[in-house]
Symmetry: C2
Subunit: 305 residues, 2 copies
Amino acid sequence: MESCSKCGNPKVIIHRKQSGQHLCKECFIENIRKKVLKTIRKENLINKGDKVLVALSGGKDSVTVLDILYDLYKCNIIKLVAVTIDEGIDGYRNDGVEIAKDFASNLKIEHHVVSFKEVYGMSLDEIMKNSKHRGSCTYCGVFRRDIINKMARKVNADKIVTGHNLDDETQAILMNYLEGNIRNLSKIGSKTESKSPMFITKIKPLREIPEKEIGLYAVAKDLNVHFASCPYAEKSFRGEISEIVKGLSKNHPTLMYSTLRGFDKIKTAINNQYKTKYKFERCKICGEPSSNELCRVCTFLDELK
Amino acid sequence: MESCSKCGNPKVIIHRKQSGQHLCKECFIENIRKKVLKTIRKENLINKGDKVLVALSGGKDSVTVLDILYDLYKCNIIKLVAVTIDEGIDGYRNDGVEIAKDFASNLKIEHHVVSFKEVYGMSLDEIMKNSKHRGSCTYCGVFRRDIINKMARKVNADKIVTGHNLDDETQAILMNYLEGNIRNLSKIGSKTESKSPMFITKIKPLREIPEKEIGLYAVAKDLNVHFASCPYAEKSFRGEISEIVKGLSKNHPTLMYSTLRGFDKIKTAINNQYKTKYKFERCKICGEPSSNELCRVCTFLDELK
């Protein structure tokens, strides 16, 4: 058995095939922390004094990113707020919400829980009982992003932090390559800024950390996280791509990294080509910025009436 | 049973899942021919009067592309020459060479057969007996391209035509996406032009036709083609990617097309970013253009000494 490549500790918790590195618990935790901070610095994701809103589901990704950002908060480098969305999924969401509440309260940071029910008048369970529904994930994505963005404006946050990891990013990049969806490709990246000040900038500090390592970080740091998966999770193209990337990564352990690096290299070129002359209109119903007459939220709510 | 979407003939030979189209033999043949000619016109692959050298292995792709280009030859739009490489693979290559010879002689076009043995002093079989070899495909690719390019110069060809199909292109694009190899991506496309006049422009008229349809075209037109696969074919990354693309295409029949279209959209942007300030030097041994002191051919030959 190999010992830790950093400190020699014989009790190793990870062997990274991509680098040959073995790490003990302490060195692994420190390594992940440093990597995330490096992403933040390199990509200029956060400025000193920023008020940062973490979208905290209670899952391993969002708990981990909050755990790491908490260090910056303690050192008075950033201000920290968390928001948890209660989509209203019986037997599933409550656990996540409780975990998020506990975690935020232990850290003594401002925390908001907002439900679909209170904002849109219906829970996801109720939406799914409506015969005109478009599939659970469609609503969940659009409604969650809407609530998080509004909360960010409400608390005057400079940045919204999401827990997207390397697997998520690789899947998104690959899906859009395969679908030839260049416009969507141009929206992927460590930082999503909008021309409209109504949309708060979103950042992804974990985008260079593989999902497996985030799970391991949460275990190593003894973080309480919600590991269940959503009962509405659909068999999707993303699911197929996820399986493929996992399969390929077994024999090609650097594959996700090289896909991300390659994408980041051409991203500027793609962005220049697809420089949007987006002229935001206002949604006729709610007044939020929208490229169509109705924003997606109001379109969906209208359909479900 | 559906009848032909074009002419109503009840004897259908293909159902295209991607378009829902059913085609009879005659309409399918005509459809492929038109698609290839459309690619040639749209991408400006061939000019009137061009002398075109077809790299004719005797396999379905190269036989099909020659069969289609022959129409342009008959109408005096282009001049046509074919070259077949005999790599020297016992029990495999001879069949392909014979098929190529027969086909070219039936069409009454100029045809050259060139062997690794006569050019480099050793067959691929002999190379593979050398303990210092780098794997069969490495030599095969480099040596074949070298011979074909030299033959194109010798016969004063304006273009080299290869039989690369949609599957080949999709695999190459995807491999380089996953490897993050942007420089290689910038070399993929319907037309590969070099800044050095020593490298003749290569074109791929079949790059929008799926492999399966090329096989079907060859059968429908009763073309004699070599269907065996090379005994040296290696378990490769390309093989893995090929399986994945085939698997995904079952449920997503437009996937290869959308990947290609997406790539073609960003290709210009990639090329602008990777505009090579290639300064070709001359290979110290053979004098061919080379970015290193020795060209790849001479490097390999030197190693095998």
